[in-house]
């Protein structure tokens, strides 16, 4: 360090000398103690995985729960499925899938994992009452063949069981006893994952290694989830040695941390796309022409320049690591003339007469939202849209995000990242574009509904792929209930002493084989 210390030492000699010792000590202590993960979000007050759809809690659940299968979701092979709690799986007929379960697995509370738990989990989670049921293709009946074999049956509900093919890697397996006792379910998580829940104090959650984990007890004894909402703070803590792992770095932070010897960085395409959702059930965006006009007013290449390393261009409402992705030829491009023509056609030449449009975005969770928020606001204002930008803290933004019970939601344009845990495209398309759900944008378009039903009723994966790529995705691009700005690339950093970490494209972090020296 070449900074002249004299001035600072003179001013703060005693305090620095006396109290920098704990600072050094904390670094030494941290190396042999728990792994502290500085997380960008935090959990809700219910540990029931079916009660929420928030990405941070899904990441947390990744430490705690197991699934029937796991999907690494790489760009090269998005459809790969690996065994987790299930060892074999097969298609029996159009409406039935059979899974053979692993033996010798126990839950954190000591109970053995059996078919009864799979039955309870799948039937509970797919119940339309559950808020997270939007993730699942529909209700399912589970037949217990024996203690370690189950069959998923969708005959009663009229859709192919194949729809669960990828979802099986996403549904966390809960204990049947917990499901029978909902209060217990909410209070503490009980899963088969490599770490078990210890306690929550304030903004920190403690997990401890589960010694009976079926792949072997993790070498990291303790993981602390520290909720640090500000990206800047996360990086500062990493530099200080306070934290060992952080997520959702800003691109500049990623670039400058690459030069730090004590840290290493990681970059991978995620299953998340950043969208601008329009509130489609109220003016002015109940008119698809005005929605399209907005899409044509946005120069996505400039947005990508701002986002830098954290984004990858994609002309599709799905991320490239998802089954069904294609480069949609008719995706709306930057075309101010077209935007003006559409506006004039809709009766608002040059944007005159439009009501004030509120563009709501969060800051501190997704990279660069404030910056490209200001950019897009300027671009829209250039075309005459009376846009005002509202930046909210993640908790406040989350509260305004989803449509309320009366069907309406605040604002007109909402910046959202939608991330899903398996290659299954319906995890994105149904919750957002099917009129039965349309969680954020409230679209109700029979053509879209019809296309979604068609693709999910396909009887083979090839047929389904064709429908998605040639019909459904182009249709959604044309109707524009939302526009996908880019696909997110996750930028992470961790202590150089942390080895063996595996990252999933939707957030969860596999620390079961990791070591922190």
């Amino acid at each position: 360090m070449t900074i002249n210390r004299r001035e600072f030492m003179k001013a703060t000699t005693l305090s620095v000398a006396a109290l920098s010792v704990p600072a050094i000590a904390s670094r030494a202590f941290a190396a042999s103690g728990p792994l502290i993960f500085a997380a960008a979000g935090t959990v809700t007050s219910s540990w029931d995985p079916t009660s929420h759809t928030v990405a941070p809690q899904i990441t947390a659940e990744g430490f705690l729960f197991g699934h029937l299968t796991k999907c690494p979701m790489t760009e090269a092979n998005p459809g790969e499925i690996l065994p987790d709690l299930a060892t074999e799986w097969s298609v029996i007929d159009e409406h039935t899938l059979e899974y053979k379960l692993r033996q010798g697995v126990t839950f954190h509370d000591g109970q053995p994992f059996t078919a009864a738990d799979v039955k309870a989990t799948y039937e509970y989670a797919s119940n339309p009452d559950r808020p997270a049921s939007a993730w699942y293709p529909g209700r399912v009946d589970v037949e217990i063949i024996d203690d370690h074999t189950v069959r998923l049956n969708t005959k009663q509900y009229g859709y192919p069981a194949l729809n669960f093919w990828y979802v099986s890697s996403f549904l966390p397996i809960l204990s049947a006893a917990d499901i029978a006792n909902p209060d217990m379910l909410k209070q503490r998580p009980n899963g088969t994952g490599p770490f078990r829940y210890v306690e929550t104090t304030g903004d920190q959650i403690r997990f401890a290694a589960f010694d009976k984990f079926h792949e072997g007890k993790p070498s990291i004894e303790e993981v602390i989830w520290a909720y640090v909402p500000d990206a800047n703070t996360r990086v500062l803590g990493l530099l200080n040695g306070q934290y060992h792992l952080t997520e959702r770095l800003e691109p500049e932070q990623y670039l400058s941390l690459q030069k730090e010897a004590s840290l290493k960085t990681d970059r991978s395409l995620s299953s998340e796309n950043k969208y601008l959702h329009f509130r489609c059930n109220k003016p002015p965006f109940d008119d698809p022409r005005i929605r399209l006009a907005v899409c044509h007013s946005i120069d996505r290449s400039q947005v990508l320049e701002i986002v830098g390393e954290a984004g990858q261009a994609s002309n599709c409402h799905l991320s490239p690591v998802k089954f069904g992705f294609t480069d949609v030829k008719t995706y709306p491009e930057y075309d101010p003339e077209k935007a003006q023509a559409l506006l004039a056609e809709a009766g608002f030449p040059n944007g005159q007469g439009l009501p004030e449009i509120e563009y709501i975005t969060s800051v501190g969770f997704y990279p660069k939202t404030r910056e490209y928020g200001e950019l897009i606001t300027a671009m829209l204002q250039e075309q005459g849209f009376p846009v005002k930008l509202t930046t909210l803290e993640p908790a406040a933004w989350e509260e305004q995000l989803y449509r309320r019970a009366d069907g309406q939601g605040p604002g007109h344009i909402i910046d959202v990242g939608w991330i899903t845990g398996s290659p299954e495209p319906d995890l994105v398309l149904r919750p957002n574009y099917h009129s039965q759900f349309a969680l954020v944008n409230g679209i109700s378009d029979p053509q879209i509904d019809e296309s979604l039903e068609k693709e999910r009723s396909a009887t083979s994966t090839e047929e389904r792929l064709k429908i998605l790529q040639e019909e459904t995705l182009p249709l959604i691009a044309q109707k524009a209930p939302s526009i996908s700005l880019f696909s997110s690339v996750f930028l992470r950093a961790m202590s150089a002493k942390l080895e063996g970490v595996q990252f999933y494209p939707n957030g969860p972090i596999d620390l079961s084989k990791a070591t922190l020296s």
Partner: protein, 347 residues
Amino acid sequence: MRASASPALVFLSPDKIKMAFALEFFLRRISQGVLIVLAVAFVIFTLLRIAPGDPTRIILGPMATPSAMEETAQRLGLRDPIPVQFLRYLGDIAKGDFGNSFIRGKQGGTTGGSQDAGSAAPVERAAVIELIARALPYTLLLAACGFLLACLVSIPLGILAGVRNRGWPQKTALYLSSFFVSLPNVWVGIVLIYLLSARTGWLPAIGYQHIGYVIIPAIVVAVELAPVMIRSISVAVAGNVQEPFYEIGQVRGLSARAMLFRHVLRNAAVPLLNSFGAQMIGMLLGGLFVVEYIFSFPGIGLLTINAVFQRDFPVIQTVAIFASTVLVFINIAVDFASTTIDRRLKF
């Protein structure tokens, strides 16, 4: 403050007069103080309820059905007129119940994003008193450290500047105060984080793990307090140094230093206490909140600012009541101490 004369007192002995005076003083001021705190509470209470945003939605989460929302609103009494709600609130406070947070669960999570109506049961929310009790020690620690640091710098400078009315101590005091008071504490905080933590890694900056985390925030607080302290001290000391008794005392054989410590400082204490009272605590409070927010220091300030962004009414109300109570009582204490030290004053 108005002087009050009580004719009845002339018939009592000096000690009894003092006690009666004290009693009357406290009764009068405390009753006024209670009224003031009540008024403040009412103002904040009303502001929160007329602002846009429905509390039931916050409590139940975004996917709540209208019937569930109405039911919760009725149960919590949110549909009654505001004065009625306020009286009920006061009643709860009298029993010691300051309510539960709308947002923070007992086990620490926040409910933003949870769409499960079942998790709305208020019994699962953390009690406001607990949240405040957990955060208060940190705020007190930061306040104490900041104050001490400020004193370390301000007292010597202030006394020097007051004693010599011209020359370099006075100029230094003027320049230093003007400089420090021109820096927004947010900016000072960021610069210090950059210089002392990010760039060099000497000191920790964000959150709280051990006592070292209080240093940089305390420096920021001190930078904010120092100008006011320097000015008050120098003015008070200067005022007394110019009195004849200062020079006369020296003529009579007392050294300048003895004069200083025994008499000047005692006399200066009164106006000092006065300005410390209202100004200082008010400033301290405001500055602390913002500093805690910048450094994610887990004190009352961070709790309150987060509560505002998350629309957590009970927390905001309770903090407002406590803050104004503290202010009012400090004022009372300061006024009483002033009358004890300087018998010429009557409050």
